[in-house]
């Protein structure tokens, strides 16, 4: 990374040429100038943090891909927050985590959500019931109306899924937009 200029030349050039356009595009989609400005800023920040930026044939398409991903993450995050609050409200005061714990919990849930991305429905249910609710496989089979054997298989497949999510990300790849 360049110690004098925190932005690499490529990102600086991208910023100069396309920041205004990206902001305008996001504003037209979101209908909110402030949010559009934040997202545009985050998009370039992401690029800068990623360090290497591939030579781009269609820089605007690339920027919108990143901006969309960021927006989806934000959206998910909010869905998660809402759901968390709702579930917390059901728990009532028996369980009242501190503000810090709540933020940490949402953080962790967001990461688990990402791990589960793309997992088929039944597999995901088996995984959640086994990992977080500590239900025995027989009980999971009963609740999902399936056989013990299927539950075993799904549990193993779910583990593999998570493994791939973690270790394919760890593999070095440069020409991939940041998630």
């Amino acid at each position: 990374m360049n110690a004098v200029n925190p932005f690499s030349d490529t990102v600086t050039a991208l910023y100069k040429d396309h920041h205004g356009w990206l902001h305008g595009w996001l504003r037209s989609k979101l209908g909110c100038s402030q949010r559009a400005a934040d997202l545009a800023h985050d998009t370039f920040e992401r690029l800068w943090k990623a360090g290497a930026t591939p030579a781009l044939e269609q820089p605007r398409a690339y920027l919108t891909v990143i901006a969309k991903r960021l927006a989806i993450n934000q959206f998910r995050r909010q869905a998660l927050e809402q759901a968390y609050l709702e579930v917390l409200a059901q728990q009532h005061e028996q369980y009242a985590p501190s503000a810090e714990d709540q933020v940490a919990a949402i953080e962790a849930l967001a990461e688990i959500w990402r791990l589960l991305d793309g997992m088929p429905e039944r597999r995901r249910k088996v995984f959640l019931m086994a990992q977080f609710e500590g239900l025995p496989h027989a009980e999971i089979a009963r609740r999902l109306g399936t056989t013990l054997n299927v539950v075993h298989k799904e549990a193993a497949a779910a583990l593999q899924h998570c493994y791939l999510a973690i270790y394919s990300e760890a593999a070095p790849e440069t020409a991939r937009p940041p998630r």
Partner: protein, 340 residues
């Protein structure tokens, strides 16, 4: 690239492993979950020792399990699965509505942003500061200084203030049953609620406030009588034994005959006599942690019987036997009753 904080790869430099080896390792991990015998352990050990790749795959999967547990350490188990499933549902719904992602985003987050943010949600302010409070599924009997018997139902909070002039209870939320005792000093007994005051006349009665402001509060009188005094004035009304009434700050509904079993919760029972299923489920849900809902398609089915409040799962199983319904466990703590 936005490295995950909760899930750290183990020995990332060791590179990728053969997916078949990972699959075998996953099978071993799962196998030992349901078949934790000496023989299984020995076979697993032998498999791990057979190849360094096997051992690494095994270690990585175990690390993953550990990270999963650690990352959610601060959370009650029901929250994790239920929150994730609910959030998924919410994001899927907005897609199903045919909104383009950006449009959906704008709409949904617009509401979320105007509304509450995580840290100042009023619902998270616990009633922990109340003198007496109960959690989900909890009931408590309290004998007050004057001998009055107070029972708190699930998720309830009450303040108690006795002084030289009056005996005063403030119901913040939930449901209480009160059997007043005569006071040697003749101090009046007052139950304060957001909608007004209740003045019992040597009596046994219950008060319930389940929803937020604006929704009526219900008084049910089992013995004696209770005077209702709405907050915004208007005439005080006396409610006699065997009747119940809903009141707000402005109005008092005409009294109705008590439903049988209205006080059964004191004994840990839910008694229903031709009760619509959605009402029954809402009642049961108050006593059970997590989310319990009822599909509109079965909402009108009628439930009759006496059910144990402390074992929600058993009640659901009982319902499955007598009604054409099925309990769908989305997670252990998120259940929807649907048509079978």
């Amino acid at each position: 690239m936005n490295p995950s904080r909760a899930f750290k790869p183990l020995a990332p430099d060791a590179g990728p492993l053969d997916p078949k080896v990972v699959a075998q390792a996953a099978e071993w991990v799962v196998r030992l979950q349901y078949d934790d015998t000496l023989a299984a352990r020995q076979n697993c050990d032998a498999w791990r020792a057979a190849d360094p790749g096997h051992e690494l795959a095994w270690q990585r999967l175990n690390m993953l399990g550990q990270d999963l547990r650690n990352s959610t350490r601060g959370m009650a188990a029901p929250q994790v699965a239920t929150t994730l499933e609910q959030a998924r549902d919410a994001s899927r719904r907005s897609r199903r509505n045919g909104l383009k992602w950006m449009l959906g985003l704008g709409l949904t987050t617009g509401i979320a942003w105007q509304g509450r943010t995580l840290l100042n949600d009023a619902r998270l302010l616990p009633s922990l500061l109340a003198d007496q409070h109960t959690g989900t599924g909890e009931r408590r009997n309290v004998t007050l200084k004057d001998g009055t018997l107070l029972t708190l139902n699930t998720r309830s909070a009450v303040d108690i203030a006795f002084d030289a002039h009056q005996r005063r209870l403030t119901l913040h939320t939930g449901e209480i049953m009160v059997s007043t005792a005569p006071d040697p000093g003749g101090r009046p007994f007052v139950i304060a609620t957001p909608h007004g005051e209740l003045l019992p006349v040597g009596t046994r009665f219950s008060v319930r406030r389940l929803a937020e402001d604006g929704h009526p509060i219900r008084v049910a009188v089992f013995e004696g009588a209770v005077d209702i005094r709405p907050r915004h004035g208007g005439p005080t009304r006396r409610l006699h034994a065997g009747t119940q009434s809903d009141f707000t700050a402005d109005t008092i509904q005409p009294p109705e005959t008590l439903r049988s079993g209205g006080d059964a919760w004191v004994r840990g029972m839910l008694v229903a006599s031709r009760m619509p299923l959605d009402q029954f489920i809402a009642e049961l849900a108050r006593h059970r942690p997590g989310l319990l809902r009822c599909d509109p398609a079965v909402a009108g089915l009628q439930v009759t019987g006496a059910f144990p409040l402390d074992d929600g799962d058993r009640v659901l199983a009982m319902l499955e036997q007598v009604l054409p319904v099925r309990a769908e466990y989305r997670t252990r703590y998120w259940v929807t009753l649907t048509r079978r």
